[in-house]
């Protein structure tokens, strides 16, 4: 079982417990990652509902409101991880679920928790070592962990691909079912159906789906509503 930051789910009950990290640790890790890898497109953290604004404020103070701060505010998505999201209240789940964020994808579970379950085995010995020796030991553990992840990379990506294609096929089936039902039961025109379909994700999905299923007019209506022209290539 993984532990959330301050909230422990036990048998469908939420128990508030004493744990927590200061925000400085999160911002320092963000700084290290930004310097090495650029702005991350998605930043997953257990408390993103509260940490997001602090990260943006910190970036403005750090870089004086430059491009880094702007990108952290507008380019980066801040979803809650799929396990920890269950520990937030319903409104927070609605606003911060990765399923409702643009270009975030399905996520990859919670990689830190998997790593912690592995590294936890060394806890007994590490706590009695001197600090410098513990430092080297943790470096070795992390190096071994990264090496093991490289060896498991192909199965991991194949599984992710299967999961994504399955979910995409299901979404396409549901989208076509909705469009056909709206046509049959409500007698709506293609323009009206295009205006009633709600989200940007539907637009991204409809580009192939609706065109392949002769719902070209609905897709054109979606494009017109978005201001991208009405021609389907």
């Amino acid at each position: 079982m993984a532990w959330t930051r301050g909230v422990v789910p036990v048998c469908d009950m939420m128990v508030v417990h004493d744990a927590g990290e200061t925000w400085n640790y999160g911002t320092k890790l963000m700084e290290l990652v930004i310097k090495a890898h650029g702005i991350p497109l998605t930043m997953w953290y257990d408390i993103n509902c509260r940490f997001k604004q602090h990260a943006i404020d910190w970036a403005e103070a750090k870089w004086g409101g430059g491009v880094e701060a702007a990108s952290l505010a507008k380019l980066t998505a801040y979803p809650l991880p799929p396990f920890h999201v269950s520990c937030h209240n319903a409104t927070c789940q609605w606003h911060n679920s990765h399923m409702r964020m643009y270009m975030v994808g399905l996520g990859a579970g919670e990689p830190p928790e998997i790593a912690w379950a592995h590294m936890r085995k060394a806890g007994h010995i590490l706590q009695y070592q001197s600090l410098s020796f513990r430092h080297v030991s943790i470096e070795r553990i992390v190096a071994r962990w990264n090496e093991s992840k490289v060896h498991k990379l192909i199965p991991f990506m194949m599984e992710a691909y299967m999961r994504a294609t399955t979910r995409e096929a299901e979404a396409r089936r549901l989208l076509n079912a909705v469009v056909n039902k709206m046509r049959q039961q409500q007698g709506a025109s293609d323009d009206k159906v295009g205006c009633m379909l709600p989200s940007e994700r539907v637009l991204a999905l409809s580009h192939d789906t609706l065109r392949a299923d002769t719902n070209v007019a609905v897709h054109e209506a979606l494009l017109r509503r978005r201001g991208g022209g009405g021609q389907v290539s």
Binding site: G20, Y25, L41, I125, H135
Partner: protein, 308 residues
């Protein structure tokens, strides 16, 4: 038993062979063999039929507390320890006071990292300068060090992330259009980095604490590839940007009861490092880690589940 003792004495950093008579007498034995034990634990997890009951996850606990009689066959010992040797195991065995343990560890590090055996004066001067210079480029704690055993190319970035740069750039371009941002600035920002990542996951872990009784650091850590040195974190804490105070919402979701906030400054009486906090990419590759000195720490054994 014989095989185990024989192979242990072959390891590169052995100060004292394991005296099994002292183990049998119930005297306390400190066994520092992280890579060995973790690789064995992996093996047992993957192959339950192997039958190496002594190499369960509780081995470290038993050995570090009371000592235990390790029942092994020569074949399994040879296989596992040769694997650990291949992976550059540090193995030190020590009995006695914490001072003796520190001496053993210092000798082990000097032996493996001779270029990093700096004097105390030099160490203090480096610490006094702080991580201010390292803060300028963000990742300088990874540079200018003789990594020796480490594969820099592998440790630099996740291979899967490096292989998907074109795809990530398309996503960035799409998001820039969506947000109505200035493309030119972002090209300047992203152009220097050829290892974009899609997702970063950060989380804290209180299962790797450090007891204050374990001893302070006489040596500066000779290598810092993923785990940030403490002096650099302290320099970050003194940075004005880290003192930014965000206006807390008084209404809205997750603002009424959040007891973690009241516990985050909690200092442990027994631990000077309460755990680690790490950043990972979406493939599970560790990008960076930080030692935590604050926050609730219940130790390794006294899990919160037990208290519930």
């Amino acid at each position: 038993m014989t095989a185990y003792r024989c192979l242990v004495t072959c390891l590169p950093v052995v100060m004292q062979p394991l005296d099994l008579s002292r183990v049998a007498a119930g005297q306390k034995v400190y066994l520092y063999s992280l890579d060995l034990l973790m690789s064995l634990s992996d093996t047992v997890d993957a192959c339950p039929r192997l039958g190496v009951a002594a190499f369960s996850r509780s081995l470290m606990k038993r050995v570090s507390r009371n000592g235990c009689a390790i029942e092994l066959t020569p074949d399994t010992v040879a296989k596992h320890i040769s694997r650990a040797l291949h992976e550059f195991t540090i193995l030190t065995l020590g009995m006695g006071s914490p001072d003796a343990r520190r001496d053993l560890e210092a000798a082990a590090m000097d032996r493996e990292y001779p270029s990093n055996a700096v004097s105390e004066e030099e160490d203090q001067s480096v610490a006094a300068e702080g991580g201010a210079a390292g803060m300028e480029d963000g990742s300088s704690h990874r540079e200018g060090q003789d990594a020796g055993l480490w594969d820099h190319d592998l440790l630099a970035a996740c291979p899967a992330c490096r292989g998907s740069q074109e795809y990530l750039l398309k996503i960035v371009e799409s998001k820039i259009r969506e947000g109505g941002l200035d493309v030119g600035e972002f090209e300047a920002l992203l152009g220097g980095s050829h290892s974009l990542i899609h997702s970063m996951y950060i989380d804290g872990h209180f299962g790797l604490p450090h007891r204050a009784s374990g001893g302070s650091s006489d040596h500066r850590p000779p290598i810092s590839l993923k785990l940030l040195r403490d002096d650099e974190m302290e320099a970050f804490r003194r940075d004005p940007s880290s003192l930014t105070r965000t206006q807390r919402k008084k209404k809205g979701p997750c603002t009424v009861v959040f007891q973690a906030d009241s516990e985050k400054r909690k200092m442990s009486r027994h631990h000077d490092r309460t755990g680690v906090m790490g950043a990972f990419c979406r493939h599970g590759f560790c990008l960076s880690m930080i030692n935590m000195t604050e926050g609730a720490c219940n130790g390794v054994d006294s899990g919160r589940g037990a208290r519930l």
